[in-house]
């Protein structure tokens, strides 16, 4: 994903439009941050307001912030690239979206209800409240969140720099504080600065409002790019006629296992990765922040319909139609490339740059700039949500236990410092980047981020629905699940070496199934076994928890 804008060919100049559109976009983000700051000054609970926007977010903000946090640059660039290379089969991954939509209500509403009742802010608040506060539970839950959040922040900041480089191709270097820096490094610094400013000043409210703006731009871009490719292939009938007649059968069928995008991989991804993404810390906090049940119920409707439509009738068509429009070439390493040598992730960029000016005339150039900014928005909306969640995890789950007497205001400021430090670290890693060991390690963790997040599923389901597990079981299950995921490549290669029967086994399993599911199986077995051997929380506590989860409470 990181190299999706590493091009070898210079596309047509967009003139001054990228500068104008980007300026409007960034000013819009900062304005929303300032408005959020003004709103939050009236709040009497500093921490709850900063992290959960006073638990009062309505349906439009909730649904769009969940959507914008759910997809990153992956949705608009990597996915069409997969379809360009693999054909229709990867489109079946879109069926994970209705599963996530169901979880928004079925898990999210219970999380929201008890979170409001008991004043939770982070996932660990809820889990330690139920299983009993212990440093091990809190650290493991915080670690699980961090294993998802930290790689996402670094990779999205890095991606933002590459996108800036792609947007301003004519500019090779720029002078910053008297030093010549590449456009990519300048992009990393500028986007990090803007993101950190609006996250710091406005907290959740600012992040969610900017997500609304970014989400609307993104969804529009996804649909418009679908229209462009259908136009390029002479309308819907021309599109499907050419796809059916000109593409090989390999691209119109599902690969047999263990081939890439085989049916078992698709099925287990849809069932488990969807849930992993929906219970990661940033989404979990969005459930706490929702105003009421109706908000999450309507958000589930929006999520299950709008997002898949934008994929199935938008960017997916770009990947498939792009394969008809652009005959791929094979690189020296055997990988497919677009004509001119560009990575396949750029097929959407090629389509819009080649066809938007033809379809939309003069306004087409503006739309191309808008879509390039939309891709940037996808990265920023994921980075800001994760930065904000990281700040909450660091202050609530690590700082507060160390300083139990700290005030809400103090913790909110510590959270802001965490955001600055985390952003500076992410920008530093992204700029040093290249082949540095630390970036390679973070890339390996990024590859398994969703699988780590999925390990929260057994304890989440237990405390929301069954309440049979014990604290010892939760600790053992979560630790076993996280360790299992660590054995899978690419992280497994770093731990176990390049060869070995264990690594061979996990590599084979990874080709067949979702890694998160493999971890969940081990996690659940260990959780159930250890829980049988130890005592669950006392009955009165479980009943009180169940009462607070119940409707109408």
């Amino acid at each position: 994903m990181l190299e999706f804008l590493a091009t070898t060919e210079t596309p047509p100049s967009l003139g001054a439009w990228p500068y104008i559109v980007l300026t409007f976009y960034l000013v819009g983000l900062l304005s929303l941050g300032v408005i959020s700051l003004l709103r939050s000054r009236r709040a009497d609970q500093a921490e709850t307001d900063y992290y959960l926007a006073g638990r009062g977010q309505g349906v439009m903000v909730t649904s769009l912030t969940i959507m914008a946090t759910y997809f990153s640059g992956f949705a608009i660039l990597t996915f069409p690239g997969w379809i360009y290379e693999g054909g229709i089969a990867p489109m079946l991954y879109a069926l994970n979206l209705p599963v996530a939509a169901a979880a928004i209500y079925l898990l999210g509403n219970r999380i929201r209800r008890i979170g409001r009742k008991r004043g939770y802010i982070t996932p660990a608040d809820m889990i330690t409240d139920y299983y009993g506060d212990s440093p091990w539970v809190r650290i493991l839950v915080a670690l699980t969140g961090a294993l998802y959040v930290i790689p996402y922040v670094v990779m999205q900041v890095k991606a933002g720099g590459l996108l800036a480089d792609g947007l301003f191709r004519e500019v090779e270097q720029i002078t910053m504080f008297g030093q010549q820096v590449s456009m990519e490094d300048f992009g990393v610094c500028a986007l990090s600065l803007v993101t950190v400013v609006y996250v710091i000043i406005g907290g959740m409210r600012s992040v969610a409002w900017t997500d609304v703006m970014q989400g609307i731009i993104l969804l529009t871009a996804m649909l418009l790019s679908g229209i462009a490719v259908i136009y390029a292939l002479e309308g819907p009938s021309g599109y499907f006629s050419k796809v059916s007649s000109e593409l090989s059968g390999e691209l119109l069928t599902v690969a047999e296992a263990p081939g890439k995008h085989n049916a078992w991989k698709l099925l287990t991804f849809c069932a488990f990765a969807s849930l992993a993404s929906i219970i990661q810390p940033a989404q979990w906090m969005r459930f706490y922040a929702a105003r009421d049940s109706a908000t999450l119920r309507r958000s589930a409707i929006a999520f299950s319909t709008i997002l898949p439509i934008c994929f199935i009738f938008g960017v997916f068509l770009v990947g498939l139609g792009g394969r008809v429009l652009y005959e791929p070439i094979e690189a020296a390493n055997g990988a497919l490339r677009l004509p001119g040598g560009d990575k396949t992730d750029q097929v959407l960029i090629h389509v819009i740059q080649d066809y938007f000016p033809v379809i939309f005339g003069g306004i087409g150039v503006i739309l191309v700039s808008l879509i390039l900014v939309a891709v940037m928005a996808a990265s920023m909306s994921t980075a800001d949500s994760n930065l904000h969640a990281l700040s909450a995890v660091a202050t609530r789950d690590i700082y507060r236990p160390l300083r139990p007497k700290s005030s809400e205001g103090e913790r909110a400021w510590i959270g802001r410092i965490v955001i600055i430090v985390a952003t500076l670290a992410a920008a530093r890693i992204a700029i040093v980047g290249g082949s540095s060991e630390i970036l390679n390690t973070i890339t390996a963790f990024f590859g398994l981020a969703m699988a780590f997040s999925a390990q929260m599923l057994p304890i989440t389901v237990d405390l929301l629905f069954f309440r049979r597990g014990s604290r010892a079981g939760a600790i053992a299950g979560l630790a076993a699940g996280l360790l299992t995921v660590c054995l899978f490549p690419p992280l497994g290669k770093m731990i176990l070496g390049e060869t070995g029967s264990l690594l061979e086994g996990t590599s084979n399993l990874k080709a067949l199934f979702d890694v998160g599911m493999c971890g969940i199986i081990v996690n659940t077995l260990v959780f159930a076994f250890v829980s049988r051997l130890s005592s669950p929380p006392d009955k009165a506590h479980r009943e009180a928890f169940a009462r607070d989860l119940r409707a109408g409470s």
Binding site: P98, A102, T253, E256, A263, D292, S293, I301, I312
Partner: protein
């Protein structure tokens, strides 16, 4: 059967058949992929199961899930 369990069963069937092995039953072969109404069968399969799953969510949200705040 009540609406809630019925929708759950339909949704789970859609989840297993849609992205799962069901897709391999209708896509044809590499040599002769199935084309229905001039459209690759696998694309219609994606659209169909998306509509089924989305319809389950929308129906549940409008008729089964209750707001009890």
């Amino acid at each position: 059967m009540d609406k809630g369990p019925l929708l759950t069963v339909i949704f789970l069937v859609a989840l297993v058949l849609g992205p799962g092995p069901g897709a391999t039953l209708i896509d044809g072969t590499r040599e002769a992929p199935n084309i229905w109404f001039g459209i690759p069968a696998l694309y219609l399969w994606v659209v169909f199961w998306f509509l089924v799953m989305a319809a389950c969510i929308v129906t549940a949200a409008l008729t089964v899930w209750k707001d009890a705040d």
